[in-house]
Symmetry: C2
Subunit: 200 residues, 2 copies
């Protein structure tokens, strides 16, 4: 946007919106215009929600989840199976598993994956705390990391670190996704699906 057409306030708003994932500069401009058109029902509530989130939401010192209580609701929940910790890369992965409602475990958020080229080593991840938590009553640590090179090498490293701690270390099954059409799957997925084939 030209300096001539609008104040630095709009430019600043657009520049900040453009830093959100999923919004480029063009969609940030559209978003800013939408916000300015809908001040009462969108802009002001969003500003309030941001301030409230900044004030109330804290990271769980135990598992790395975010919540308004500390430790987080999941860590405090006595109905959770405290013998199983599911390790994920990001909080979004934890949310995905909770939405699916397929496991009633505790979690541990690493905060990313090992990526030496980006300067992410073991110290940059929430890893020491995981080792500390891997004691009774915990019996199993399930590494629900992304099925990417980085995710899998992180899983390898975490597995090594947990050896000798007396906990079983497991990983997610690999294979054909539900609704997946063979013709569209990559070779790696097909190879894993065949290698891990099961009797019907």
């Amino acid at each position: 946007m030209s300096k001539k057409t609008a104040g630095s306030e709009i430019e600043r708003l657009i520049a900040l919106l453009a830093r959100l994932p999923g919004l480029g500069h063009r969609s940030a401009r559209k978003a800013a215009l939408t916000l300015l058109k809908r001040r009462v029902d969108l802009l002001q509530p969003l500003a309030a929600a941001l301030n409230e989130a900044a004030a109330k939401i804290v990271e769980c010192p135990n598992c790395g989840n975010i919540d308004t209580v500390s430790p987080c609701t999941i860590c405090q929940d006595p109905r959770r199976d405290a013998t199983l910790i599911v390790v994920v890369e990001e909080i979004g992965d934890l949310w995905a598993l909770e939405r699916a409602g397929v496991v009633n475990s505790l979690y541990h958020v690493l905060g990313g994956h090992l990526s030496p080229l980006d300067g992410v080593g073991p110290e940059q991840l929430n890893l020491a705390k995981l080792i500390e938590r891997a004691v009774p009553p915990v019996k199993e640590v399930l590494l629900a990391l992304n099925s990417t090179v980085e995710g899998q090498s992180t899983a390898h490293y975490v597995t090594e670190q947990l050896q000798g701690h007396g906990v079983a270390v497991t990983r997610l099954a690999q294979g054909v996704p539900m609704g997946g059409e063979l013709d569209y799957l990559d070779e790696g997925t097909l190879a894993a699906a065949i290698k891990s084939r099961r009797p019907i």
Copy 2:
């Protein structure tokens, strides 16, 4: 996101972000997590920028542009060619023309296009003010509306309204866009380009 995993503050933030154009529910979740991870350098500045924009940015009563001054910087600029008003549908279109820097005119933002099915008639557009402005020194009104059915029927309506006002009403040329490959252009564009062909 499950009720179990995070407070209503996060859910509310995600719901508001999801109402921005270009952000679905999934990308709104990612944006919320990014904001919560980067509180100092992103969340807090964004909240401040929203509040500042809400407080300072006003719609120009003359042309419908937004700015921190009223009338807007463009309407106040004595170096602008005050004989030409370029009419656009949205403020984003005005910004696009200003970025391109191809015209040094005044503008008029209609705020949309006629769309009877959506309840948008002439009264819902910033049209009466345009008729009012179409007096000397204005000599020409250029309708830079979208080349869509709605944009063109709006142009037709505006042209009718401006008849007898002593101003020339023009529209943008239609044809092959710069860098456009004929093989990828639609029939309408090709037909317009041939109809308006020019000697070399």
